[in-house]
Symmetry: C2
Amino acid sequence: MHSISYLEEFTYQIFRTIGCSAEDAGTIAQILMAAEKRGISSHGLLRVKDYYQMWKKGRINIEPSVSTVRQTPGTAVVDGDGGFGMVAARKSMEVAIEKATTVGTGWVTTQNSNHFGIAGYYAMMALEHDMVGVAMTNANALVAPTYSKSRMLGTNPIAVAIPAGEHPPFVADFATTPIARGKLGIKGKQGLKVAEGLVQNKEGHPSRDPDIIKQGGAILPLGGDSEHASHKGYCLNAIVDIFSGVFSGANFGPFIPPQVPYLDPPQQQTGKGLGHFFGAMRIDAFQDKQTFKERMDQWIETFRQSESIEGQPPVKIPGDPEREMEYHTRQTGIELIEAVQNDLSQVAQELGVGFEKA
Amino acid sequence: MHSISYLEEFTYQIFRTIGCSAEDAGTIAQILMAAEKRGISSHGLLRVKDYYQMWKKGRINIEPSVSTVRQTPGTAVVDGDGGFGMVAARKSMEVAIEKATTVGTGWVTTQNSNHFGIAGYYAMMALEHDMVGVAMTNANALVAPTYSKSRMLGTNPIAVAIPAGEHPPFVADFATTPIARGKLGIKGKQGLKVAEGLVQNKEGHPSRDPDIIKQGGAILPLGGDSEHASHKGYCLNAIVDIFSGVFSGANFGPFIPPQVPYLDPPQQQTGKGLGHFFGAMRIDAFQDKQTFKERMDQWIETFRQSESIEGQPPVKIPGDPEREMEYHTRQTGIELIEAVQNDLSQVAQELGVGFEKA
């Protein structure tokens, strides 16, 4: 078990040592740690080695000049200058919040970026401003549209954070697929099969093999098969890809550069890097602040009181599991799996930074 | 088979006869017919009898004064004054488009409204302005959140329309459930079972009975069961409910008045009527118009060329099936099922309007 402060400081040192500014290294460390604290380890320190090796291969600009390249009073296009996704994304969300302050809402799309960690972090940035936050991103292609054999889309997440009054905020943060890449990997290592309706083989036929992705298979869109309306998951996933990629001038669909060092970017590029989409909406654009918060409290209470099925947990409000996990990890610290600790040791050694396994 | 013009004129006459203004009757007829033309008969003339009987019961204001009750440069709250949903919704989307013209995007939430027909109609209103359109609505509760026995949410659809260049636009319009109420009804009449993962019984246990809704059962959120990530469908459905209901000051979740005459509104009300949410985004807020359209064409071509699974249809672009249906019905006219024709005859007779079965 490591303390949160130890891991955050360590991560900061890694990114400082490769040459990031203090501000950027702080941003990256904070957002990777936000994932760890919230129990989303697939987007936490597991990524440090990949990020480091992407940088070693010259695929990350560690001194990016993030800038607004186009704007209206309520919108902007931000160029991430090929840097780490967190740096571009945080700046983009700040611009969205600024725009919302002036005209009610702000919507920002980001080009020339990279993997940005958990979408929920950016959506939640809006909360302290009494705004609703929205964040989405495209990602390298692992998902087959309905009827398709081929991987055309990423697991393209959507996050929406909505302030409440006395209750904690509503925070939804979900991939637009029924299963994430990381969870498939874990099932594979455990030698388990997955349910039907999550993945298909390279011919497009149903599969229960969690490792099928390594053999040319694909993840299915939310819904699963067409009998369960996978075309709706495909629609949703495609919307995230277009808002993030087409709007911004980034790559879209199958042209998105993979965010791991061992896969090269596709030869054909349709834009710059990968893309994100952010929104901020002032709650007092719609209702008096107090009224809005009271209404959200009432919504949350109503849904919490919904009677649950016998033998099932209580009905949750989006954000409950991650907040409960954060409460827990703040007290206990973070348990990193052995493989991640080994990766971190290796990176630390190469860079001459100290790392204690625990 | 009826001609489109005959049915549109007939529908117009029905709503004129009960006292709607020429403009409002035209709006309602046009939007109901848009559903028929696009093959979404569950949102077409099937609704005329319900609307008529809702009005007879005094639950619809046929002379609404639709007005903006709160606004910023980029947002507005519109009050539908208890009229037909189409009237409030079209006006709301017009306000969103107006706002987008000035500040890049416009976002409008609507309170005190009723059933608005197909969400796609409003999203598509943005296209001729070279804008992306977004429309969503909440609806009376039929859907159980993950782990819940109770119906807490509607089938809450989302529509997004995105202009392209040489290709037809991208138009996604989907309920956030794996199956719609109307399709369950049809399966029930045919004596068929449905797949698992679409509905549950009143205890919250899996069911394959399409009529289970009549016995206290519920529709599941997109995803189906929790193994297929129904919690993501629940998140999405809840976001539509909050954007439409909490933002606007309408009812939300289980408090939404049913849009059929034989079910009374819930005793407790948390706001006025039902709610919608609309958005318009100028494409040139993000890219030069021409560039945006070329990029969307490239997106569409890329996905159309995706290789399909043997024995399956070609990969579709959202909006393809409805557009193909519209092309077809414009040539052949509309085939109304017997039961709908009987309902229309009955309403016509009561109002002294002519209706020829065909």
